[in-house]
């Protein structure tokens, strides 16, 4: 009897493993039933995720406040004098202002390039079960979003629409290790391939061995055929260090993405772009140096020194 039970157990294990291998094979062969399962699940989950986002936003804001407590201590001292109702209104207002600022920035960038965009709220970030970098937004095919559309925010490129569901869409971030984008250096025609590294840092490989780049160079998206997946001219990042290895065929460099992928609230999906390449018009302005106050002291020596004026006061 015991042996029979053991055999049944082994058989169950083998059946389960074969089933999972069968599923992997079906997925790798591109069977639509498998992708349909994921689409169906996401369609069912997206309303719950939207509710979750609404509920969790105040909680998240609270933790953000706690994290930045040290920096805003002086501000907090002033706020303590105000009543609780006003404080609560301020917290709500801060969240709305931040979203508004992100939205305004993205619309400014899109307006400059004459992109037709659709702004959406980030309702979920990639799970720990996956090593990929993704976000989910609360707009989908119902809003006109299609796969391979460029996603931007006020700083520049965020990523590309990977999968579209009815009410939501999955965005592959530019920081994802599998992300590759053709870029060109602003002000010149040097081109290269920028790869995500799982962090805010990316690696640029120039395509021409005669080209040279330097720290501080701005990278812009080179654009794709029919503007998909990349519209041209979108700011991507800035070169932070250049690798000048003697044996390398082409030059490589470390790049810092303009967008901060860990604090995404509102993003914009580029629905349509004009036929004219905006060239370097979207390059972000260099930050102005902070003026350092100087004090000039004019000393006029007296013609007839008196005995009392020899020492300093």
């Amino acid at each position: 009897m015991a042996r029979g039970g053991e055999n049944r157990g082994r058989l169950l294990l083998i059946i389960l493993i074969i089933t999972s291998l069968f599923l992997i094979t079906l997925d790798l062969r591109g069977v639509s039933l498998i992708s349909g399962l994921r689409t169906g699940t996401q369609s069912a989950l997206s309303p719950v995720q939207s509710v979750g986002a609404t509920i969790l936003t105040p909680v998240r804001n609270f933790f953000v406040d706690v994290i930045y407590l040290g920096r805003t201590r002086s501000e907090m001292e002033q706020l303590r004098t105000e009543n609780g109702e006003l404080l609560s209104q301020l917290r709500e207002r801060r969240s709305i202002d931040a979203q508004l600022e992100q939205l305004q920035g993205a619309l400014d960038l899109a307006g400059k390039a004459e992109f037709k965009v659709l702004s959406a709220r980030v309702i979920s970030q990639g799970a720990t079960t996956s090593f990929t970098q993704t976000i989910t937004i609360d707009a989908g095919s119902r809003n006109g979003i299609k796969p391979n559309m460029t996603v931007i925010n006020s700083y520049g490129l965020i990523g590309v629409v990977k999968t579209v569901y009815t009410n939501s869409a999955l965005i592959s971030l530019a920081s994802d290790p599998s992300f590759r984008i053709g870029v060109r250096v602003a002000g010149s025609q040097q081109i290269g391939i920028l790869s995500g590294q799982g962090t805010r840092k990316g690696v640029l490989q120039l395509l021409d061995n005669q080209s040279t780049i330097k720290v501080g160079d701005i990278l812009l998206a080179r654009g794709s055929v029919n503007n998909q997946p990349f519209v041209p001219g979108v700011p991507v990042g800035e070169v932070t260090s250049v690798d000048n290895a003697a044996g390398a065929v082409t030059q490589t460099a470390d790049v810092r993405f303009f967008a901060n992928f860990s604090s995404l609230g509102i993003v914009s999906v580029v629905l349509a772009a004009p036929d004219i390449d905006p060239r370097d018009s979207l390059v972000p302005p260099k930050p102005l140096p902070t003026p350092i106050p100087t004090v000039t002291v004019f000393v006029t020596p007296s013609q007839s020194p008196s005995p009392n004026s020899t020492g300093t006061e």
């Binding site: 169950l12 992997i24 399962l37 995720q49 969790l56 970030q125 990639g126 079960t129 996956s130 799982g198």
Partner: protein, 173 residues
């Protein structure tokens, strides 16, 4: 296994899955956070027999594969969790003391979370997927380990009580 047990277990798994997908993923916890659903599934498997552990792993893996945030091939997490679910329950069953000691089961589940992710990583490599730099993977695994070590002792009594209620057993965890 009675219809009551199957339906209650399925309901519980779906509830935790929704909690993970709709709420936990939005918390933006430092270092990528943790997967409550993965921890729950492995705790459940640790309390079960090896056959049930494998079945639990299959169900949990299938649900994770359904998630839109899972980038790998469909069935990859199913395969990983069948192996790890079977392994954790087999290991626990062989050593009765391990099953009944909260500290040991915390250790076992925490390590299993990391093992599951490493096995997933290896499968991804075999399937030719891009995984990123070694440092980002190592950081992700380390942070996942620390979060799991913090979450497992909190989740364990709840999961053990739910398991006892559904299976009419009485564990000493």
């Amino acid at each position: 296994m009675s219809t009551r047990k199957i339906s209650l277990t399925a309901l519980l798994f779906i509830l935790v899955y929704i909690l993970q997908e709709a709420f936990i993923t939005q918390l933006r916890i430092a270092g990528g956070g943790f997967s409550l659903f993965l921890i729950f599934a492995l705790l459940w498997a640790a309390l079960s027999s090896p056959n049930m552990g494998a079945l639990t792993g299959f169900t949990a893996g299938f649900l994770i594969d359904l998630s839109q945030s899972t980038a790998g091939a469909f069935g990859q997490w199913t395969l990983v969790l069948i192996i790890v679910g079977f392994g954790i329950s087999y290991f626990g069953l062989g050593y009765e003391n391990v099953r009944l000691n909260p500290f040991t089961i915390t250790f076992l589940v925490t390590v299993s979370v990391v093992v599951a992710r490493v096995v997933y990583l290896l499968l991804s490599l075999l399937l030719g997927e891009d995984l990123g730099t070694f440092s980002s993977i190592a950081t992700s695994l380390l942070v996942g380990l620390l979060w799991s070590a913090a979450v497992v002792p909190i989740a364990m009594p709840v999961v053990a009580r739910a398991y006892d209620f559904i299976n009419d057993t009485r564990s000493r965890l």
